[in-house]
Each structure stands twice: as C-alpha cells, then as structure tokens.
C-alpha cells in the first residue's frame, strides 16, 4: 500500500485553502496542480513571472515565451498576470504567497529544509528555492519517505546544505503525513495500510504520536 505519487499530490491538494496563492516546486509538487478542485480560486504563482498559471497548452498553442519556473510551456488563466522577477520575488519574500509546496532531500525535526545540493554531488543551483522557503507563509514538503537507497529523509539534523532553517510546517511522504512541531515530528496521518512502525523505521528522528 502506501501513497502513490498521485495520491501524495491529491493529499497535498487538500492542504490548499480555497482562495489562496500557491507556488509549486519542481518535480512531485508539480503534480498537485491536477488535483486542485475547479472553482476553488486557487492561484498558482510561478516565480519566473506568472500569477494565475494554467495547465500545459493545447498542442499547437505553445509559446516559447510563456513558460513556468521549470521551463515547461504553460498557459495563463483568465485573471492571470505576468510581471518581472523583482515583482515576483516581492510576492514571495514579502509573505504574499500563502503556501509553497516543495520537494526535499532532507527535513530536520526542527523544520530545517535541505533541497538544493548534496555534499560532493553535482550542484544544480539554488534558483528560487531559498526565497520560497524563507518567504512563503507556509511550507509543505512532498517527498518519498526514504531515498532510493533507503536512507531516511526525515532526520534529527540535516547533513546536506540547508535551503532554509526552521521553515517546514508539514511533510507528506508515501507513508504518512507528518507535522513539524516545537517538540519535533508528529504523526498526523498514516497512508492506507501503513503502520506507525514502518513510518518510524524510515526515519532518523523521533516521531510523536
């Protein structure tokens, strides 16, 4: 059992209040867009300069000068706007984006987030990750519970370079929904058929029930 990627995305969509502005990170978070109910007035912000990002364009309608922060062709919904990067990061850093849904390499029990570089690994860069992590009002992380090699991603302390310190509010993995509280990780919800023990086994930190 456990959550599939689409189920993680669907569960994440439940975290989005109707009438809020959300920035979706690259990868797993991108899938969340498909699970936002119609008519819920959720506005997707893309840090390269869109508020009101729509789905991929119909074939033939794509415009190379209309892309998202992942550099994929996208569309703009009615009521959407385009703007320069300074304005875009004013929105982000200024606390106007209600929720950022981000991927993670590691999350620490104090809310530290590491999602931009692995020591000794190839550096892909920071992009908008640090601004989003520091500036959005709420940070939701979507990630596999453990790495492909089975290493825990929810840890006492991040060993990877931080993206931001103490920012993560909630994590949704394939095994569980977990909050970061002042006392550490707290179990909110188990994926169907997953036991608390399985969740704990994949973590290198305490889990409060």
């Amino acid at each position: 059992m456990s959550f599939s990627k689409q189920e993680i995305a669907a569960r994440a969509a439940q975290e989005i209040a109707p009438g809020s502005v959300v920035n979706l990170g690259i990868g797993l978070p991108t899938l969340v867009a498909d699970h936002i109910p119609e008519g819920s007035d959720v506005w997707l912000q893309s840090e390269n300069g869109i508020l009101g990002m729509g789905p991929f364009p119909y074939e033939g309608d794509e415009d190379p000068q209309l892309i998202n922060a992942g550099k994929q062709t996208v569309t703009i919904v009615p009521g959407g706007s385009t703007f320069d990067s300074a304005t875009s990061f004013s929105m982000i850093r200024g606390g106007h984006v209600d929720l950022a849904i981000l991927g993670a390499m590691q999350v620490a029990q104090n809310g530290d987030l590491a999602n931009w570089a692995i020591p000794g690994g190839r550096v892909l860069g920071i992009g908008g990750a640090m601004d989003l992590a520091a500036g959005a009002r709420r940070i939701l992380v979507l990630t596999s519970h453990v790495t492909k090699k089975g290493a825990p991603k929810l840890v006492k302390e991040c060993s990877f370079p931080l993206t931001a310190a103490g920012v993560v509010a909630r994590i949704i993995t394939d095994l569980a929904v977990i909050d970061v509280t002042p006392k550490g990780f707290r179990l909110v919800e188990l994926a169907p058929g997953v036991s608390e023990e399985e969740v704990r086994a994949g973590m290198d930190a305490e889990l409060l029930a």
Partner: protein, 254 residues
C-alpha cells in the same frame, strides 16, 4: 485528521458597499491612503472611514489632503492622531493641527517614503539610502559608507489598511491605474495587511491582458466599484488652442 482550513484571502473580493469594504477597521489603525495630493484619491473610501467612526488613526499619505478636500476631512473631524507624509504645502488643515500640536506629523523624503513601503511589501526590513544624509532626516539614524559615499539606514513602513483608487479592476483584484493617479498606490497595496480598492470600473476576468496588469491581485484583498468621482483639480493650468489665441486677438468668434 485533516485540519479544517480557513478560506484564503483571494476569494470573494468584490464588496457591495464601502461599509463592507472597510469592515474590521478599528480605532488606532495605521492607514495608508494613495494619491498625490488629490490626484488618485479613493474618495468614497476616505469618506467611508469617517462614516465608520474610527479615531486615533495614523494616516500615511503623501499630502493628507489639500484645499479642504480629500483627507482634509479626516483632520477636520479629528480622527487623526499622527500623520506620516512628505509634503504639507498649503494644506491649511494640517498646518492648523501641527501648530496646535493635536496631530503629530512626521515629514520624510518622498523617495524614502515610497521605498520604505515598497520594502515592507517585498520582505526587506531595512535598506540604505543616500537621501537625507547631512540633513535633519538623518538624525539618530545609522550612518554607513558604501564605496566612499555615506548612506543612512531606513526601515520598512507597514500599515493595517491601504485604501487606494484604481481605474479598472477584475474580481481577483488585478488593477490598472490611469496616468499619474498611480503614484504611491501600488507600493501601499503591497505594504498593508488589508488592501481595499475603490475602482472606477469592474471588468470581467481576463479583460485585462496579463501583460497589462499594473498591480497583480495578490496585493489586493477587497474591491468596491465606485463609478462617480469628483476628481477635483488642485491647480488647473491650460493654454489656449493655437487657433483660438489668434481669433481672440482679431476680435474673432470668442
């Protein structure tokens, strides 16, 4: 197990009346009001604040009224305790309040005024500026040299409410302004907890091209349509049309 979610701030922004648009305004509020003098004033919202009966307001606005119009009404009604502005000019109402010490007035340079609001909206708590160095404005402020030039530290300027006027708005709050009515309004909108827009016209979603939005709706929380405005002139200056002067001189049609 999922916690109950509040509705976000970007739903149902259109308000049926000024009264509804100003809900929650309370005594002691810090209120930014757009406009360069009387140009670009949110006239109905300014009146609405009076009707709401709040007092001890901190008013953050470039001029705080003029010629007994606009925000002068707040001064006359004694609802203002403190004014942060850049220019008093011939605003007799404000001069009287200053002289009588019934209103505390802080005058700051216009560029610093708007940059402090822009900083508040952009998540910048403080910045260095060359403006005001060597003047009273710099007194008591941190001084610091960059590339051999002295600068002073200025802090973000925030408010509870921003009351601004726009030309066009859609239901999400995307705005377009008309000519120089734009002035401080975009920066104020970003710097306030609640931004209320009085727009000449509500247009359908999508009617404003994405590239033509002056201020994205993320910075706007409530919208009220107000079709009639006085739009008073402060100093109406014109020149005669080329043909007409000649006609006048020859005892022509006029």
């Amino acid at each position: 197990m999922t916690e109950v979610k509040n509705e976000g701030r970007h739903r149902r922004k259109l308000r049926a009346s000024v009264t509804e648009a100003l809900e929650g305004l309370s005594d002691g509020a810090r209120i930014m009001v757009g406009g360069f003098g009387l140009c670009g004033n949110a006239e109905a919202l300014i009146k609405g604040v009076l009707d709401a009966g709040v007092k001890d307001v901190t008013l953050i606005s470039n001029n705080s009224g003029n010629l007994e119009k606009g925000l002068a009404a707040w001064l006359k009604a004694d609802i203002v305790r403190r004014v942060i502005c850049t220019y008093v000019g011939n605003n007799e109402d404000l001069h009287r309040k200053m002289a009588g010490k019934s209103v505390e007035v802080e005058i700051i340079p216009q560029g610093t005024f708007v940059e402090r609001m822009r900083a508040a909206g952009a998540g910048i708590p403080a910045f260095y500026t060359p403006t005001g160095v060597g003047t009273v404005v710099a007194e008591g402020k941190e001084h610091r040299d960059f590339d051999g030039v002295t600068h002073i530290l200025e802090h973000a300027l925030r408010a509870d409410f921003a009351l601004i006027r726009a030309h066009q708005v859609d239901a999400f709050g995307n705005l377009r302004f008309w000519r120089t009515a734009r002035n401080f309004s975009p920066a104020m909108a970003t710097a306030a907890k609640t931004t209320v827009v009085e727009a000449d016209e509500v247009v359908p979603m999508g009617a404003i091209d994405p590239d033509d939005v002056h201020l994205p709706g993320i910075f706007v929380h409530r919208v009220v349509e107000v079709r009639e405005h006085e739009d008073p002139y402060e100093y109406k200056r014109t020149r005669p049309r080329p043909g007409e002067a000649a006609l006048d001189a020859t005892g022509g049609a006029r």
